[in-house]
Amino acid sequence: MKKLIFLGLLLFLSTAFSGLQADELDDQVRQIAHKLRCPTCQGLSVKESEAGLADNMKAKIRSLLEEGKTEEEILQFFVDRYGEWILRSPQMKGFNLLLWLAPGTLIFLTCLILFFKMRQKSITTLKPEAINPLNEEELAQIEKELQNLNRN
């Protein structure tokens, strides 16, 4: 009886473990497929597409993962055969670096220029000659309020 329970437990654990492994593999396939452009459909990733070729690509990703290939190696496999356009995000190297860095650099430079421009303007507006001195009436009012404060 004990043996039977032990065997049952073993069977349950191995099934649960293989299920977890399959789930993990499915997740990895989906993750990589999401980074690849479907060659036969416009604007869809391999993950989203149900075209025959996209299914083939998903099966190939799975078989390459089972062979122990890394995500990088699998993406390179497709780049070697299809060219870089198969990737949904261009790689960060060569001419592509310009595409990645240009928008951020432009925004940063614009902010920098605006910051210096505004700073320069505020300094200019605070120049002594630009400040209107208080007139006698205002000075008297301030004095009066200060005296009131001291009394309290």
Partner: protein, 177 residues
């Protein structure tokens, strides 16, 4: 001084953007065409069992120009090109060219029906279930045809129905040299 710096910076930025625009319009690839990363590269080796049960591999045809066509029975353009490839096969195979057709994402039954319907008689085989051969050739759709030279290098690729002229030009060149 400041005005000069801003003017210079602005001019460089505008010139840079204009340069990118010109590059995109005149030199970057056509967004409507799908470039092949395999042109002028060695054709990927493969071994398949043809529909009539013979095992063939690309390697065994080294020294001969090869027309490698990917097709499917459900593909409309494949119907258009079927007789064109068959006619080229009838003309150039006796002269030393090789014609191979790989059926992708198709059932064996439908492929055989298509072969009989269009009288295809060159080397025809199905790709495997994963589509390893078509993926190795970076297939984007069917039909696609690769022109492989006598050294086993891919020289040209067509997307859509292949024309008699393109095959004739390539094969005449290869068979005469």
């Amino acid at each position: 001084m400041n005005r000069k710096v801003y003017f210079l910076g602005g001019s460089i930025a505008i010139l840079g953007l204009l340069g990118l625009l010109l590059y995109g319009v005149f030199y970057a690839s056509n967004p409507k065409s799908i470039p092949s990363a395999l042109i002028d590269k060695k054709a990927s080796a493969f071994t398949v069992t043809t529909f009539d049960g013979k095992t063939i591999s690309l390697e065994e045809f080294k020294g001969k120009p090869v027309i490698l066509n990917f097709w499917a029975s459900w593909c409309v353009a494949c119907r258009k090109e079927a007789h064109i490839i068959e006619a080229a096969h009838q003309k150039y195979t006796p002269q030393g060219a090789v014609f191979i057709g790989i059926a992708i994402n198709d059932t064996r039954e439908d492929s055989l029906k298509f072969i009989r319907r269009y009288g295809k008689s060159y080397k025809l085989a199905p790709d495997d279930k994963v589509g390893n051969i078509s993926l190795n050739y970076g297939i984007t759709a069917v039909p696609e045809t690769f022109f492989i030279d006598k050294e086993g290098i891919i020289r040209y690729k067509t997307l859509g129905a292949v024309t008699a002229d393109s095959m004739e030009e390539f094969l005449e060149n290869q068979l005469r040299s």
